[in-house]
């Protein structure tokens, strides 16, 4: 157990994934150390979502190996549950449970999965709502919150399960511009606290200030993978350069 820290926290070896005859991932290799922050970018349809969804098995990969925190993802239900407990996920569309208040959204999984009593779960929920700076919204329903607030609740909901890894799939893409910052700020704080993170985003400012590695995907492959300084200033591939020039102008 002790040497787990030295091995990669997340390891993808030649991972492939097809939807019918369409191959969405064409042999992806990626290794992420504990505490590393990886930003993934690339054109729409390039397989970014598919890749991170494979990591907590919302999608099943059909070739290669995925190892998360020492557990290889196979069809074993027990392993999948174990992995899901360690991996939090934040979605573009928030996916808050509309029939539960913000606090109840946070309490549900700790109570059901970790079997924590209601009162403690509530305390846990309030702790994380404070961390995302909206404790005062605890008893509102998602529909009564702004998009930015909803996404922060969603982040807090994942944190309540005390995951070792957080996955973000375009967490700010569905937000109005004025709300993007409040969500990114929370993510930056999370990064400072040492969380291992994979973030699919086109917020290049966030990538510059937080990422250890920036990954560019195109067409189901990782085309380029480098620390941000190198990535932004001396990208090697033409596809990366073309993408960057498009995305950085606006």
């Amino acid at each position: 157990m002790a040497d787990k820290t030295s091995a990669a926290m997340i390891q993808l070896d030649r991972v492939t994934k097809s939807f019918g005859s369409f191959q969405a991932l064409k042999g992806v290799d990626l290794a992420i150390e504990r505490g590393q922050k990886v930003v993934v970018c690339g054109p729409s349809g390039s397989g970014k979502s598919t890749m991170i969804r494979c990591i907590n098995r919302l999608e099943e990969h059909d070739g290669g190996r995925i190892v998360v925190n020492g557990i290889e993802l196979t069809t074993s239900v027990k392993d999948i549950d174990a992995v899901r407990r360690e991996v939090g996920m934040v979605f573009q569309q928030f996916n808050l449970f509309p029939h539960l208040t913000a606090a109840e959204n946070l309490m549900l999984a700790p109570r059901l999965v970790r079997k924590i009593p209601r009162k403690e779960a509530r305390e846990l929920a309030m702790h994380y709502l404070e961390r995302v700076h909206i404790p005062e919204q605890a008893d509102k329903y998602p529909a009564q919150l702004s998009g930015g607030q909803q996404q922060r609740v969603a982040i807090a909901r994942s944190l309540c399960m005390k995951p070792e890894i957080m996955l973000f799939d375009e967490p700010t893409s569905a937000l109005d511009p004025e709300m993007i910052k409040e969500v990114l700020d929370v993510m930056v704080e999370l990064a400072r606290d040492g969380m291992t993170m994979i973030v699919v985003t086109h917020e290049m400012g966030f990538a510059r200030s937080v990422a250890d590695v920036v990954v560019f995907m195109d067409n189901g492959e990782i085309v380029e993978q480098a620390p941000p300084q190198d990535f932004f200033h001396q990208a090697r591939s033409e596809r990366t350069k073309a993408f960057l020039s498009r995305i950085l102008t606006h």
């Binding site: 899901r84 449970f97 029939h99 549900l108 999965v113 329903y141």
Partner: protein, 231 residues
């Protein structure tokens, strides 16, 4: 109106019988509907086939005929089974109350199957993914995330199903359930006032239906409360 007063007690008892049938059938309807919807959405061709046959047959056959099949069918089956054990047995049947409740629930369950199927599909996939990624089991996801959102979607149509349930109870005197049609029938032979008596029946049903409509409207407000925006 004087004649009605004399029969008021009998109508009241009949109305209670109807309520009994209604609640028994309501529970069974929900059960058939959930099983049917699950089967229709399952990956199993056999389960889907059975569920499709069920909904097609029960939505295309008159309610009266379904009632007769269930009641007399079960009676014939039970009688021959009983004769097998004890040849002196003449006739065994399921009590009409239960046979009737069962038949009505089968009929309305076919409609509820479609309603629940739609409601299952109406809950966003992202909800299920979020639950699963938080580590909830499929059963927990169903119970705590899908069902609570489903019933809001199912409610308007399900209100109609409840009205069908209550109105279908009017058929039960045909198999000898002593409900209000039966009361009216008895009262008519004695008083010779069929219009008055069946009018009482109509009024009782109208009252039941009104209560259901009002209840469903209140439930809808309750079910939608979390969707109301702030202010």
């Amino acid at each position: 109106m004087g004649v009605v007063v004399e029969w008021l007690n009998a109508f009241l008892w009949g109305a209670l019988v109807i309520l009994g049938v209604f609640f028994v059938a309501l529970v069974l309807t929900v059960v058939w509907g959930l099983i049917g919807a699950t089967a229709k959405l399952s990956n199993s061709t056999v389960a889907r086939g059975i569920a499709n046959a069920y909904t097609t047959a029960l939505r295309g056959t008159p309610e009266l005929l379904v009632l007769l099949i269930v009641y007399f069918g079960s009676a014939v089956t039970l009688t021959s089974l009983a004769k097998f054990v004890d040849p002196s047995v003449k006739f065994v049947h399921i009590p009409p109350f239960w046979a009737g409740s069962f038949a009505i629930s089968l009929i309305v369950g076919a409609y509820a199957t479609e309603t629940f199927r739609g409601a299952f599909l109406g809950v966003d996939r992202g909800q299920i993914e979020a639950a699963r990624s938080l580590g909830l089991s499929p059963f927990q996801t169903l119970f705590y995330v899908r069902l609570p959102q489903m019933w809001r979607l199912a409610l308007p149509a399900f209100g109609n199903h409840m009205n069908s349930l209550i109105k279908d109870t009017a058929l039960l005197s045909v198999i000898g359930v002593e409900e209000i049609m039966y009361t009216a029938d008895r009262a008519t032979t004695i008083t010779n006032k069929p219009f008055t008596m069946y009018l009482v029946v109509a009024i009782i049903y109208l009252a039941f239906v009104s209560v259901i409509i009002k209840t469903v409207a209140l439930l809808e407000i309750h079910a939608n409360r979390y969707l109301a925006r702030a202010r």
